[in-house]
Symmetry: C2
Subunit: 386 residues, 2 copies
């Protein structure tokens, strides 16, 4: 009997909600999504109550911009107040590449006295936050240059080497008798990008290999907007709060729930948005039809149409039928763009620079100029990958 009680106490039981990529303040073609975001954040609070969630993880990109609007700040504050002040649920958050780390970090010394942790700099990564004998390590989005400076190590030139240095330092002191969970915001090797993550670098320089996290029981990530961007039992993205670009039109959106009962069980729970998203391709005649339009009244729309060269102000006409039409493209224009995009992906770096210069000046680079570019490119590789 006594042993039975002892076991009951020792088994870790913790129910965690994992969200990320809220991108509060995001706009699509100048259209604010604040209403949609408010709607979904309230839904999350309801889910927290309904599922008896005991801890909330926010895996970065809380805001869409480093200097969020007043309205965005108020919306986020209202959300975390409902969770952390009103419900006394601990929050573990990291800053993402879209967040301004310094501004997001404002007040964190006070927040943590109330179990609301925001990790915004490398230094914040090393001291785990412990709940129910689970150690959570909160590693914010880190630029290689920050890690190079922090560790005073010139060899750190990629995201992989930056996170490797951080993980090594964590591993020096980590308690392996506990569950160890990493919360971070990064592009793990093998994940699939959509248009919204704003890739600033070409190629795979941003990738961080999954093997770095082998010593951890679980990795809760933000950055990629697809909740199934990686297929792994102990690494997962929450996915974004909602569809933030038309390339995400077919992605499920919602949150992840971790149930830690001796082992970690994780599940994805979809959330229906205020307005869904749809992409239509066809001719102007096809879509300029009240009956057809009736099923898209509440959706954010992108249309790729043929046969509209002769239509005067097609956007205004279509908006009468599709009130949430956000993007209208002519099929021919799009085709040209796609072709040129494909071309670039197939080029090497020097060729891309040549194309770029040609685009600007109208003339190809000379052999000598090409050599200079190649020399500079080699020398500045270090800078170029940051």
């Amino acid at each position: 009997m006594c042993l039975f009680v002892y076991n009951l106490i020792e088994v870790i039981t913790l129910k965690v909600m994992h969200i990320g990529d809220l991108h509060i303040g995001r706009t699509i073609n100048q259209h604010s999504l604040l209403d949609d975001q408010e709607y979904l954040l309230k839904k999350l609070v309801n889910k927290i109550d309904e599922l008896n969630i005991e801890l909330l993880i926010i895996a970065g990109d809380i805001y869409d911009r480093s200097l969020p609007s007043k309205e965005s700040v108020l919306l986020f504050e209202t959300f975390v107040k409902m969770v952390n002040i009103e419900r006394k649920i601990p929050i573990l958050a990291v800053s993402g590449n879209h967040d301004g780390a310094e501004r997001l970090g404002y007040g964190k010394s006070w927040f943590k006295t109330h179990d609301f942790y925001i990790s915004t700099e490398i230094e914040d990564s090393f001291q785990p936050i412990t709940y129910e004998s689970v150690d959570f390590y909160l590693i914010p989005y880190i630029e290689p240059v920050e890690a190079r400076f922090y560790f005073n190590d010139d060899m750190i030139t990629t995201h992989a080497s930056a996170y490797e240095a951080i993980i090594s330092k964590i591993e020096e002191k980590m308690d392996r008798t506990k569950f160890n969970i990493v919360v971070s915001h990064l592009f793990i090797q093998g994940g699939n990008e959509s248009d919204s993550e704003r890739p600033l670098t070409l190629g795979a320089v941003e990738h961080v290999p999954q093997s770095l996290f082998n010593m951890f029981d679980y990795v809760a990530l933000g950055h990629l907007h697809h909740p199934f961007a990686i297929q792994s039992e102990n690494v997962s993205y929450s996915g974004s709060l909602m569809k933030y670009s038309f390339s995400e039109v077919n992605q499920p959106k919602g949150f992840r729930m971790l149930e830690i009962y001796g082992e970690i069980k994780n599940s994805f729970i979809p959330l229906a948005p205020l307005r869904d998203m749809a992409v239509i391709e066809g001719s102007f005649q096809d879509v300029y039809d009240e009956a057809y339009a009736s099923s898209f009244q509440h959706d954010y729309m992108r249309m790729v149409l043929t046969d509209m060269r002769h239509i005067n102000d097609p956007m205004t006409k279509l908006k009468q039928l599709y009130p949430n039409l956000l993007e209208l493209r002519h099929a021919d224009d799009l085709k040209a763009e796609e072709t040129s995009a494909v071309t670039i992906v197939e080029q090497g770096d020097i060729e891309i620079m040549n194309l770029f210069s040609t685009e600007l000046t109208g003339e190809m680079l000379s052999a000598e100029q090409l050599k200079t570019v190649a020399r500079l490119h080699k020398g500045d590789e270090d800078i170029a990958t940051d």
Copy 2:
């Protein structure tokens, strides 16, 4: 013996530092004062230790702009961390007219769980914060239009009527057996303005009569930068952290200390800045002199000079001798400006509009136009005073 102990406990003993008008992020002619502000804020922390201060009042205008720079936010955060987190000293703050109330209010629900109170809206005024049986009422800077909306009262068109409505509501519930102290940011009737308070309205519409606060034991204010802007035993301005315009060149700067031992004793304690401020008037020949300049090496300088029309780039020349020269004016230009300023002060509102229009268009208003202006001015008086 027993009675003696009883009395000891009942006497209120509280040592309070009252500062205000920090204007963090202020610039003078594009020159950042952040270094100077950091220096003084550190000095304040030393004074807190030295004087055993138990509570800090910040009477508004924490920042100079509603959207403060990242560096300004970090400086303020560092200061309040040293006071409230490291020393566990309670902070009672209100927002001023320069602060963006919503942004400044971010996080206040968490801050207050750690005895750091920031009042940024009317609603925050009514619940007193109690220390050692002193009730502190924190009333932020309020625009008449906010109070008109909050109290749903169209008669509120001035600052006086706005604060009257707030004070009346406070008085309904205040505990008169306690010491009652107001912290606010306003222009009390009888105070003297300097150039820095950025007067947006003409005349006395911003004034709030001192008699409004008759029921309170003490009023700790911000807004006017002169610490002796009002001569009163139970109403005082802290004055600004440092000299923020050349019109403040002769003002003492520092902080106030309140000692509450059964009664309230208040004293002004000056703080020497990193760099002082000086205004020199004279001829270019007089000041372009190394020996003369030697005593102004560390001062922020304004010079009003005669005889420099023929000097090529006098600013650059003088800056070699006066590294902190921030403003250089020709005496003649200044005289012309002062004359026109005097003229305006002596005009009525309609005449000022006529002058303004003449300045813009080159022509005086016609009799008919003047009548229209007078009519509009009368009708919109309500709006004009906000």
